[in-house]
């Protein structure tokens, strides 16, 4: 920022304004707030609750799989556990995670706005999320559902007991929450950018939030109508998916995956954006190939809608459609490869520091690449015939979702924690937690690749004895992973009360959000800032040593 220091001062000067945290302490001021920062905090708390609920279900699953006949005696309980793990993690943690917590908080700050375009709709989004979550939790705990998070017909419509309709309604309601958030972000990024902030001067995180929102807005309605048809068929025992009257069960899979594959891009794109923020900040160097990375986010969002058929290669889909979807699935991998290349380009000749966010980002690059490459295994038709619905698939999407998305979420949490809470977290413990997570993760999920190749099917409560060693390894890894996830909960909460006060720009990073005090005051900026240069205006190496 080449503005004069005075202007900087005027932009960020709190002028005695209280920080958004201190601006009203009554419960009403929190529950009826339209301040995007407070809504981000509300979301962060609810996301954390759902994360640990889903995580405990995962722990029970891994506990059950220690012995071939299953530690939990009833397969029914196991089915309900992995359905609960799937539903909570997909719709109540991964889809909302970064966009609603970090995105809500940071987007207006990054574009120099006071708030999102429709603040009331933003609050409505949180209430829809809580309503949907409550409904889903009640359905899952008051009997649960044993169809898996995919709800395939005719199992979900005619043969499964358990409160499918209640759970489906919960997801239906939470779908509107993500539509509201997506709509808010798209209109805000289009309409409320600070003067001078052209599209190419926006940080990459906003590009990825924009493309995530495009998917949220355009894919979620199809999920809504699919769940509506499913509920109709389950209530009236007759519907378009019912093979007995000539309906097509594959129609359900088509409509479900039309949402669910773009949904996995909803989950990963914000992570790609976060890493594109953290890597330049801790390499002290401009992001390599900004335009490439920016347009790759949009490309992932658009091409992500063409490829859903690769979930149905062995499901009875026609030969012609399978080949077409398989080919398209290879094109969707190109933008992700370009992003990884550009991150490496950013590290090249940088001034790399190893703070906790950077460790999470470096872990993300490795694990996301492994997840992406194993996805190409599954996109090949003949390999998918063998590997489909085995633990290979489980390992693939956990590498991307847990290895990629969750470490990006934790990286973002640590990167913007000083800005959000105004406190500094204990650095060494945070780095230890990051490393522990990397190790625990690999021990948990790498054995599952081998299990999958050996033919161990998904969603099995009990399994042939020859798979036991790999399952025990995986369960051991899961315990380490659980510890690595609990550590941040403790030291971040500890930092809220005892952490040192955070300066406005603890990481010497570029970007408008680091212009405001930590934590920022409610209106974000005293005077709307004018943007005169790109988002990563670090001094190019060789010209001048960036101040340390």
């Amino acid at each position: 920022m080449s503005q004069t220091a005075a202007l900087n001062e005027r932009i960020a000067s709190p002028l005695g304004r209280p920080s958004y945290l201190a601006d009203g302490v009554t419960l009403k001021s929190w529950l009826l707030t339209t301040d995007h920062k407070r809504i981000a905090i509300l979301y962060m708390i609810s996301i954390t609750v759902f994360f640990f609920l889903g995580g405990s279900a995962a722990a029970l699953i891994r506990y059950n799989l220690i012995v071939p006949e299953g530690m939990l005696r009833s397969a029914e309980t196991y089915d309900r556990l992995f359905t609960m793990h799937g539903v909570i993690m997909v719709w109540f943690f991964l889809v909302p995670a970064v966009p609603v917590t970090i995105g809500n908080f940071v987007l207006p700050l990054m574009i120099g706005a006071h708030d999102l375009a429709f603040p009331k709709i933003n609050l409505l989004s949180w209430y829809l999320f809580i309503a949907g979550g409550a409904l889903a939790l009640y359905a899952l705990f008051a009997g649960g559902v044993d169809t898996g998070w995919t709800f395939y017909a005719p199992l979900s419509t005619d043969y499964a007991e358990g409160n499918v309709v209640l759970l489906v309604t919960g997801i239906f309601v939470s779908g509107f929450s993500s539509i509201a958030t997506g709509l808010n972000f798209i209109v805000t990024i289009h309409r409320l950018r600070a003067p001078g902030m052209t599209w190419y001067r926006m940080p990459i995180f906003l590009w990825s939030l924009y493309s995530t929102s495009v998917i949220m807005v355009l894919a979620t309605p199809v999920l809504a109508i699919t769940l509506l048809l499913l509920a109709f068929e389950r209530i009236f025992h007759v519907g378009v998916f019912d093979p007995r009257i000539g309906g097509d069960p594959l129609l359900f899979q088509h409509m479900f995956w039309f949402y669910s594959h773009p949904a996995v891009y909803i989950m990963i794109l914000p992570g790609l954006g976060v890493v594109s923020e953290i890597i330049p900040a801790f390499s002290g160097k401009e992001l390599f190939g900004y335009k490439f990375v920016a347009w790759c986010s949009i490309a992932i969002a658009v091409i992500g809608f063409f490829v859903w058929g690769h979930h149905m290669f062995v499901a009875g889909q026609s030969l012609y459609a399978s080949v077409v979807f398989s080919m398209l699935s290879y094109f969707v991998a190109v933008p992700s490869a370009i992003k990884v290349f550009n991150w490496l380009g950013t590290l090249h000749k940088g001034y790399i520091r190893f703070d906790a966010p950077m460790l999470y980002a470096l872990g993300f690059i490795g694990l996301f690449t492994m997840g992406g490459l194993t996805g190409l295994f599954l996109a090949a038709l003949a390999a998918d015939v063998h590997l489909h619905d085995t633990y290979f698939v489980v390992a693939h999407f956990h590498y991307i979702m847990v290895g990629g998305m969750v470490s990006a979420y934790f990286g973002a949490l640590h990167y913007w924690w000083p800005k959000i809470s105004g406190r500094i977290y204990p650095d060494m413990i945070a780095r230890a937690a990051a490393l522990l997570m990397f190790l625990g993760f690999n021990l948990t999920f790498f054995p599952q690749f081998i299990l999958g190749y050996l033919g161990m099917p998904r969603r099995y409560h009990s399994y042939p004895p020859e798979f036991q060693v790999l399952h025990v390894l995986s369960s051991a890894g899961a315990t380490i992973l659980a510890v690595a996830y609990l550590m941040p909960l403790f030291y971040l909460t500890w930092s809220l009360f005892r952490g040192a006060g955070a300066p406005a720009n603890p990481w010497d990073a570029k970007g408008l959000e680091w212009q405001t005090p930590s934590p920022p005051f409610t209106a974000n900026f005293a005077v709307t800032p004018v943007v005169t240069e790109g988002p990563y205006a670090y001094p190019t190496p060789g010209t001048s040593q960036p101040h340390v």
Partner: protein, 309 residues
């Protein structure tokens, strides 16, 4: 504890080579990514004094060529995978047909000779076997890891899966599409027998009469013979030599009478009426069970067909 999976079918080896190809290419890409990352992280850590110098501008072309190269390699693997898939998708015409009915949490197999077995499947070695599968309730999936084949079994329609087992032995059979509580219990074994053993097994387990003979009794019991008989073809078309032959329909199109068409016409006759016949045949949906249906279809096939099995 074993790390290798038996390669017990013709396409198993090639599937393993394809997967090995992917592992090799992915390992190379990962080596580059992890290698570069570790190298940069150590060499350019923030307090290392080495000179950073100007960033080389050629990397734009390097990036495009690197991405195009990896895409081409993966595209090669995609084409190889697709060719294999087409071969896996279409069963050879001379395959031995075995009917499989999946039911919530068990597999029922019925051989042409009338042998019936639950949760096991005996097949001859070195001969293509085609499984004609349907489900009575939810979607199941017939998965034999050792053969590297799997196919979802859909209710209300036939799905075919074929393989050529080339190693004698017993292999796991899994259901790999979630089908409810007993999903994990719906496993069995595929037993590959040498030709003499297979013949002996067929003899031992053969019931008194073959599938077709069972079908003949059902053909009479359900009253089909009343209309479809050899001498009069006034009320209903003759079924002799029907199987595999083209059938002209009332709406002008012609279809080949394969087992799907026969099963269809029994369950829902009015949807495809043979040319110049009145739609008088009643529907037998809900009257004839899947098992009996297979026997009737086998009987009609046995009434002399274009290409005898």
């Amino acid at each position: 504890m074993k790390f290798s999976l038996a390669e017990a079918s013709a396409n198993a080896a090639e599937t393993d080579y394809l997967i090995a190809g992917f592992v090799a290419v992915s390992a190379a890409v990962l080596a580059v990514v992890f290698g570069l990352m570790l190298f940069y992280v150590v060499r350019y850590r923030h307090n290392s004094p080495i000179d950073r110098g100007q960033i080389a501008e050629r990397s734009f072309r390097f990036e495009v060529s690197w991405t195009a190269a990896t895409l081409l390699i993966f595209f090669g693997l995609f084409i190889w995978g697709s060719i294999m898939y087409v071969r896996l998708y279409l069963p050879p015409s001379n395959a031995l047909k075995i009917y499989v009915v999946a039911k919530q949490w068990m597999w029922k197999a019925e051989h042409a000779g009338g042998q019936r077995e639950i949760d096991t499947l005996h097949v001859p070695v070195n001969k293509p076997v085609e499984l004609v599968m349907t489900s009575q309730d939810v979607i199941h999936d017939f998965f034999v890891p050792a053969f590297r084949v799997k196919r979802d079994v859909l209710p209300g329609q036939y799905e075919t899966l074929w393989f050529r087992a080339d190693e004698v032995g017993t292999y796991h059979l899994f259901c790999s599409q979630l089908c409810g509580t007993g999903h994990a219990a719906m496993i069995g074994s595929v037993v590959v027998l040498s030709d003499p053993d297979y013949a002996k097994w067929l003899a031992q387990n053969g019931t008194s009469d073959t599938l077709a003979q069972d079908g003949k009794q059902l053909f009479i019991r359900y009253g089909c013979s009343g209309c479809h008989n050899d001498h009069g073809t006034v009320r209903a078309p003759s079924l002799v030599g029907l199987y595999g032959s083209p059938v002209p329909l009332s709406n002008g199109t012609t279809v080949t009478a394969d087992d799907r068409y026969i099963r269809d016409s029994i369950l829902q006759p009015r949807s495809r009426i043979v040319a110049s016949y009145a739609p008088v045949m009643p529907s037998f949906q809900g009257v004839i069970s899947e098992g009996d249906l297979l026997k009737l279809v086998a009987y009609i096939e046995s009434l002399g067909s274009e290409n005898p099995p």
